[in-house]
Symmetry: D2
Subunit: 335 residues, 4 copies
C-alpha cells in the first residue's frame, strides 16, 4: 500500500472547493500538492488558507508535475474530455465529476482510451457512496424485498440553474436524470433497455428558449422485463429532494426521509423538521466517502468503484431519454 497519493484539484468552483477542502487534511493518504483554477486569485486564496504548495492557472504544469499521482477534475463539463485525455497522457490517475462529458462520442472515446491504457479513471457518481443508498442496495442484494420488480426515483432541485449553466448543461435528462439512471443501474444491478421520456414546462417559461423543461418523467424498462420510473424537476421551492424506492415480490424499500437535522420542533404550526437546502448538504457524506475511496483504491492498486463504462452508460441513457422526449416515442438502448 502506497503511503501518499499526491493529487491536484482542477477547478475551484463550489464543488471543487469542497473537494479540495476534503483533500486538504481529511482524507487518509491524500496529499494535496496543487490547486488550479482559471481565476488565479481563487487558487491562491485556497492554497494560502490550506497550505497547498502549488496554486496555478496552468493545468499543463499541474499535469506534468513529476510527483503528481492524480488529478481531480471539477471543471465545467465541456472541458472534461480534453482534461481527462491530457491527464491520462501524463500518466495520472483521474477523478472526474459527473457527467463525464455531454457527448456520447467523447464518452466512447474516453472509454476506449481507458481500456487501452489501463488508466485509472473514476466518475463522480457520489450517490453510490451515500450510506442510505448503499444500505438499500445491500438489503436488495440480500433478498430483503425478494425479487426486485419496480424501480422508482425522484430528484427535485430547488430551482433552475442560471442561464449560463443551462447553455451547456445538456438539458434536464443529461443534467439531472443521469444520476437517477446511474442509481437504476446501481440498485437494480441490471441494464435499462428502453426509455420513454415525458414532461414539460410547469413553471419556468424561460426554459423554452433553452429548449429545456422543468418537469420530467421517464419510464424505464430493464433487460429482465422489470420496470420503473424517474421523476425530475426544478421546481422544489421547499428544498433539495431525492428519494428512491424499489418494490420487490415480498416488500418495498425506500430511501429519502428528507430530514436534515435529527430534531423536531413542535409549536403552534405543528411538528416540524428541517429539510436539506441543497445537494452539498444532502450528499456531504457521499462526496467525502467517494474521495476517501478514490485515494484508498489508488493506494491499494485497485480499480475504480465507478468506471468510465458507468459514466458512458448513464450518459447514453440520458441521451436516449432526451431523444425520446424530442421524438415523443420510446427509445431502445442497445448495449
Amino acid at each position: 500500500m502506497r503511503e501518499k497519493i499526491h493529487c491536484a484539484v482542477i477547478g475551484l468552483g463550489r464543488l471543487g472547493w469542497s473537494h479540495a477542502e476534503y483533500f486538504a487534511g481529511r482524507i487518509p493518504g491524500a496529499h494535496l500538492l496543487a490547486v488550479a483554477d482559471v481565476i488565479e486569485d481563487r487558487a491562491v486564496t485556497f492554497a494560502q488558507q490550506y497550505g497547498v504548495p502549488i496554486a496555478t492557472t496552468d493545468i499543463e504544469k499541474v499535469l506534468s508535475h513529476p510527483e503528481m499521482d492524480a488529478a481531480v477534475i471539477v471543471t465545467p463539463t465541456v472541458t472534461h474530455a480534453s482534461l481527462i485525455q491530457a491527464a491520462i497522457a501524463a500518466n495520472k490517475a483521474v477523478f472526474v465529476e459527473k457527467p463525464m462529458t455531454h457527448s456520447l462520442e467523447e464518452a466512447a472515446a474516453i472509454t476506449r482510451l481507458v481500456e487501452a491504457t489501463h488508466a485509472y479513471c473514476q466518475i463522480g457518481f457520489m450517490r453510490r457512496f451515500d450510506p442510505s443508498y448503499r444500505a438499500m442496495r445491500e438489503q436488495i442484494h440480500n433478498g430483503a424485498i425478494g425479487k426486485p420488480l419496480y424501480f422508482k426515483t425522484l430528484s427535485r432541485d430547488p430551482g433552475c440553474p442560471p442561464r449560463s449553466y443551462l447553455q451547456e448543461s445538456g438539458r434536464i435528462f443529461v443534467d439531472m436524470s443521469v444520476h437517477d439512471f446511474d442509481m437504476a443501474r446501481f440498485l437494480m444491478d441490471e441494464e435499462i433497455v428502453e426509455v420513454t421520456a415525458l414532461g414539460g414546462i410547469v413553471h419556468n417559461e424561460f426554459l423554452r428558449s433553452h429548449d429545456d423543461i422543468d418537469q420530467a418523467l421517464t419510464f424505464v424498462r430493464f433487460a429482465s422485463g422489470t420496470l420503473g420510473d424517474i421523476e425530475n424537476s426544478r421546481i422544489a421551492g421547499y428544498g433539495y429532494d431525492t428519494r428512491a424506492e424499489v418494490v420487490g415480490t415480498t416488500g418495498t424499500i425506500q430511501a429519502g426521509a428528507l430530514t436534515y437535522h435529527d430534531i423536531r420542533m413542535f409549536n403552534s404550526r405543528g411538528s416540524t423538521s428541517d429539510l436539506f437546502p441543497g445537494f452539498l448538504e444532502r450528499f456531504a457524506d457521499a462526496y467525502y466517502l467517494e474521495l476517501v475511496d478514490f485515494i484508498d483504491r489508488l493506494r491499494r492498486g485497485l480499480p475504480p468503484a465507478v468506471t468510465v463504462e458507468d459514466g458512458y452508460k448513464a450518459l447514453a441513457l440520458a441521451m436516449a431519454a432526451t431523444q425520446s422526449y424530442d421524438e415523443k416515442r420510446p427509445v431502445q438502448v442497445k448495449w
Copy 2:
C-alpha cells in the same frame, strides 16, 4: 330536515356487508329497512344479526317499497347501470359504488337520466371523504403550497384480484386508476386533458390471458398545463399502499404515511410500525363518512357531494388511459 331516511343495501359482499353494518345503527338519521343479496342466506343472516325488517333476493320488491327512500348499490359493476336506472325509475335516491359502470355509453346515459330527472345519485369515491385527502385539499385551496404544479399519486394493491373478478373488472386503469383520476380532479380542481399510459406485467404472468397488467404508470396533463403522474400496481406484497403528493410553487404536500396503528416497536430488527392490510382498514373512516354525508344530504335536501358527472369523468379518463396503453400514444380527452 327529514328525521329518517329509510334505505336498502343491495349486495352484501365484503364491502356491502360493511356498508350495511354502518347503516344498521351508526349513521344518524339512517334507518336500514332492507338488505338484498343474490344469496338469500346472506341477507337473512345479516337481517337477523342486525334487526333489519326486510331480507330478500328480490330487488324489485326493495325498490318498490313505498317507504323506501334510498338504495345503496354494492353489487358487481356489471349490474350497476340497470340497478341505478331501476332505482331512479322507482324514485329512490341512489348511492352506487365505484365505478359507476364499465361502459362510457352507460355512464353517459345515466348522467343524462340524472340530469333529466333531478334524481339524487352519489358515486362511491370514498377517498374524497378521507380526512387526510380532505385536509390536503383544504391546504392546497388555502394556498399553502402556492400554485399547484405537479400532481402525483400511487395506489398499490397487495395482490391481483381473483380471475373471476378480473373478467369483469375493466382492466387495471378502470379498476384501480379510476380512483386516482378522481383524486386528480378533487385535489387539483381542474380537468385532465391528456393521458399517456405505460406499464406491463412485472410479476403475474397469468394476467396476459386477461389482457391485463400488474404495473401501470400514467402521465397526465391538466387543462392549465400542469402535469402529473399516477402509479398503480398489484404487486405490493407488503400491504395496501396509497400516497398522494402535490408540488406547488412554494412547497409540496403529501398524504400517506402508511402507518396503521400509531405504535412503534423497537427490537433487534429495528423500529417497526404496522401497515394497512387492505383498503377497508385504510379507508374505514372514509367509507363511514361518505355514508354519513349521503344520509345527511338527503335529510337536508342537498345535492350529492360526488356526482354522476364525477363518475363519468373518472371513467372517461380511465378509458382514455386504457386506449393510450393499447395504442401506445398519448390520448386527448375533450370535455
Copy 3:
C-alpha cells in the same frame, strides 16, 4: 341481545354534548331518550337539533323514567357520587366520566354499593379504548417486548384549566395523572405499590394560590418490582400531547406520534405535520368506542370493561401521589 338501550345524557358541557351527539344516531342499539342540564336552554337546543324526546333540568325525572335503561353522567366531578347513587337506586345502568369522584371515601362507598347491588357502572377511562393503546397492550400481552421492565407515560395539556375548574379539580395528580395511573394498570396488568411524586411551578405562578403545580413527575414501583415514570404538565403551548412507552427485555413499544392528519407539508420552514389541538380530537375514536362498548355490553348483559374498582384504584394512586408530593417522600399503596 336487547334491541335498544334507552339512555339519558346528564350534563351537556363540551364533553357531555359530544357524548350526546354520539348517542343521537351513531351508536348501534342506543336510543337517546333524554338530555338533562342545569341550563335548560342547552338541553332544549340539543333536543331540538337531534330529535331527543325529553329535555329537562330535572334529573329526578330522568332517573325515574320507567323506560330509561341507562344514565350517562358528564356533570362536574363533585356531583358524580350522589348521581351514581341515585341512578343505582333507580335501577339504571351508569356510565360516569372520570374521575369517579375526588373523595376516596366516596369512591370506596360506590364500589361497595356496586358490589352489593350488582349494578352496572362503567368509568370513563376512554384511553383504554384508543386503538393505539389497545394495540400496544395486545403486543405487550403477546410477548412482543419480552417481559415488561419499565413503564413511561407523558400527558401534557396545552394550558392550565380556568380558575373555576381548578377549585374543584383535585390538583394535578387527580386531574391529570389519574389517566396515566389507569394506563399503567391497563398496559402493565399489575398494581402500582409505591409512588414518589415530584414537581413544581415552572410557568403559571397563579397556581400557587390553588396549591397546585403545572409540572409533575411521578416515579412508580409495581408489585413485581418493575418501575416507571409519569410526566404531566400544563405548559404544552404547542398542543395536546400524550405518549406512552413500555420497555421490555427484548424491545420497547411506543404510542404517540402526535400526528393529527396524515399529511406532511414541505416548505421553506421544513417538513411539517399538524398536532392534536386537544383531547377531544386526540381521543375522538376512543370516546366513541367506549360508548359503543357501553351500549353493546348492556345489550349483551355483560359486565363493564372499566369498573368502579378501576376508578377507585386510579384515584387512590392519584391521592397517594398528591400525598407524596406534599410530604416529600415515597408513599406506599396497599391493596
Copy 4:
C-alpha cells in the same frame, strides 16, 4: 495558525483505536506522532497499519517527546488524573475522555492546576458536537421554543457493561448520567442546583453485588426554577437509545429519531427502519467533530470548547445524584 499539531493517542481500546484512526489522516492539521498502549502489540499493529512513527508502552517517552504538542487520553478512568497531570507538567495540550475522573477531589485539583498553568485541557463530552444537539441548542438560543421550562433526556444502553468495567465505572449516575448532566448544562445554559435520584434493578440482579442499578430516574431543578428529568437504563435490548427534549413557553424541541440509515423497509411485518447498534455509530460524527475542533483550537490558539470546569460540574452532579439515590432524599448542589 499553526500548520501541524503533533499528537499522541494514549490507550487503544475500542474508543481509543477509533480516535487514533481519525487522527491518522482525517483531521486537518493533525499529525499522529505516537500511539501508546499497555499492550505493546496493539500499539505496534496500529502504527504499522496507519504509518505512525512511534508505538510504545512507555507513556513517559510519549509525553517527554520534544515535538509532541498534544496528548489524547483514552485510558481507563482511574488513570486519567495522573496522566492529565503528567501531560500538563510536560507542557502538552490534553484531550481526555469523559469522565475526567471518578473523584471529585481529583477533578477539583485538575481544575485548579489547569487554571494555574493555563494549560489546554478538553473533556470528551462528544455529545456537544453532535449536529442534532447543536442544532437543538441553537434553536433554543434563538428563541424557537420561547423560554425553556422543562428539560428531559433519556439515555439507554443496550446492556450492562462487563463486571470488570462495573468495578471501576463509578455506578450508573457517574457512568451514564454524567452525559445527561452535561447536556442539561449545554442545552439549558444554566446550572442544576438540586437532584433527586430514584431507580432500582429491574432486570440485572447481579448488579446488586456491585451496589449498582440498571434503571435510574433523576429529577433536576435548575437555578432559575425550571425543572427536568433524566432517565437512564442498561436494559435496551433493542439498541442504543438517546433522546432529548426541551419544552418551552411556545413549543417543544426534540432530538433522537433513532433512525440509523435513512431507509425504510415495508414488508409483511410492517414498516421498519434500523436503529443505532451502539454509541460509536450514534455519535460517529460527534466523535469526529470534537477531535477536529480540538486540533483546530490548538492551531488557532483558542481555549477548549469543553473545559475542565464542565468536566468537574457534570461529575459533581453525578456524585450528588449517587448520594441522593443512596440517602433517598433530594441533594442540593452549591456552585
